[in-house]
Amino acid sequence: MLILDLIVNGVIMGLFYALMAIGLSLIFGILKVINFAHGEFYMVGAYAYTLIALRLGVPVWLALPAALAAGAAIGWLTERSLMQPLYRGYTSWGFMRDEYAVVVTFALSLFLINLVDKVVGPYPHRGPELIAIPRMAIGPIMISGHRLLAAGLALAAVIGVMLFLRYSAWGKQIQAVAQNRFGASLAGIDTGKASAVVFAVSGALAALAGGLLAPLINATPDVGSFPAIKSYVIVVLGGMGSVPGSIIASLLLGVLEGFGAVYISYDYRDAYGLVILILVLLLRPQGLFGERAREV
């Protein structure tokens, strides 16, 4: 039945979106900036998974964690080399720290895309599936084995991150820093390390999304741009800095896009999210669950 199919597939897409959006939301929560290179963390994950599995002949069950590690590494490196000025007090951009973040992550995005383009080549790469079952029936729904497994892994990752944030020592520190950086540092929390951990986790999650979707997309160096834009929409819709908000918004967007593509127009499906984004930013900038936008 079409509706059920749309909903299930929408939720599955939403889970993948959530992997990207959670990372972005965490970064915003802790540094109050948007990471415009987030799509490239995803791209790195897709490429890492595909190349490690295909070129190095590593079994997929190892290639996926390797991709995760690659994402974490890139995230961590990004934070250590580029993000410190945002909280170290001195940045050559002084009062325009937001603008610094925009420019530097934009440039990073450009850099990563072109680096991969040069080193690996501009031709599309298709990653191997996790499991070679093309079609199976779950109740009234037909779904491929890989998709089902990937969705399961994504769900596990999302739950894992939520638990991590809520119950682990690191998670609590991250929450503290997100709420009040200065206060957290007074309480003895190493805010720099917390930022680095957040970036590493975000990178890992985005890379996981890339790895899981690698068999379904034809990865080219700029494959990250679309998911990135979707994540921006989700993060704003769910409330910048709110992880639960991002998750709910991701699922919503996944389902809405699916329905929109079928019932309204397939061609403009990428535009729906953007229009929603603009409307939300104008009417309810704190999104569904977020903190109030910084004003005066």
Partner: protein, 323 residues
């Protein structure tokens, strides 16, 4: 205004000097390919100048400049295609339409700052690009729209672009020298304070968006008639990224930075493309390095080298400062 006046007069003189050099280049460079490269770099110089007014002087980091170039290009293209409008009309219309959409965007993002502003302008740009790309029946979508040229000789286009670039620099200089320049910078530095001193923040912010968009639209229209093909690729976020990078490398918030940045970066990247294709990587790396360590860009470096006595206090002694 003495301090700012002197600085901006100096920058303006330098820009004219640079453009005078560009005017003389065709004497030594006759290869049409390279003439074309310089023409395209002047296209970017126009975009960069417009964006710098909005971002460098008014503090609004919009991610939509390429979008307005695309709007300008399509305005003149569609007018020529469907109504056989003459190029001069199309170009003028392009400025008006782009400026109008720009002021709309400006009103939309009035209350937004930082990442929210960036995201909204980004989405705005993307929506328009998707709409144009998908309106196949009107715009021929990704295939692109054929646009009639203006001249037969590439040299004529060269001097048209140069003339427009000079005129835009003169206009920007006049604008910034007057109280407008003060108001925009006040808005950039502290909107609340600016309002409390009597600056009409709403009006001038919207004006900055409008002028910046109009300049971008002008650039796009000219490019359309030069390349004789307009496609949605003009409005890609990547193009905006190029513009921002050029301004940052050249020196944001100065009159000379965007022009020098655009010319240098684009010409150098084409030259590097010949050499090995690493140009974009090098270029992105430069932007990262400049923004990370030296946000005043090349122009800042030059200023520092030439006038150390007037340099502001070093970073270590200024807690909240900027270099």
């Amino acid at each position: 205004m003495q301090h700012f006046h002197h600085r901006i007069a100096l920058e303006f003189t330098l820009v004219l000097g640079v453009l005078a050099v560009v005017a003389c280049l065709p004497v030594v460079i006759t290869n049409p390919y390279w003439l074309g490269v310089i023409i395209v770099s002047m296209y970017f110089a126009l975009l960069a100048s417009g964006w710098n007014l909005l971002a460098g002087y008014t503090g609004q980091f919009s991610l939509a400049p390429a979008c307005f170039a695309m709007i300008g290009a399509y305005t003149t293209g569609l007018l020529a295609h469907y109504f056989s409008a003459p190029p001069w009309f199309g170009i003028a219309a392009a400025m008006v339409v782009a400026g109008g959409v720009g002021s709309l965007l400006g009103r939309i993002v009035l209350r937004l700052r930082g990442p929210y502003l960036a995201l909204t302008t980004l989405s705005f740009a993307e929506v328009i690009r998707v709409v144009i790309g998908n309106s196949y029946n009107v715009t021929r979508g990704d295939l692109g729209l054929n646009v009639p040229g203006i001249f037969d000789s590439r040299l004529a286009y060269y001097f048209l672009f140069l003339a427009v670039l000079v005129l835009v620099q003169i206009a920007l200089f006049a604008l910034l020298k007057a109280r407008v320049g003060l108001y925009l910078q006040a808005i950039r530095d502290d909107e609340v304070a600016a309002a409390s001193r009597g600056v009409n923040v709403v009006f001038w912010k919207t004006a900055a968006f409008t002028i910046s968009a109009a300049v971008s639209g002008l650039a796009g229209a000219l490019y359309g008639h030069f390349s004789q093909l307009v496609s949605p690729e003009l409005g890609l976020i990547f193009q905006t990224g190029l513009v921002i990078s050029m301004v940052v490398i050249g020196g944001i918030g100065s009159l000379v930075g965007p022009v020098v940045g655009a010319l240098l970066v684009y010409i150098a990247s084409e030259w590097l493309r010949d050499v090995g294709g690493y140009h974009l990587i090098v270029f992105a790396l430069l932007v990262i390095l400049f923004s990370r360590f030296f946000r005043e860009g090349l122009w800042g470096l030059v200023r520092r080298a030439l006038a150390p006595a007037r340099a502001p206090l070093p970073a270590a002694t200024v807690k909240r400062g900027w270099l």
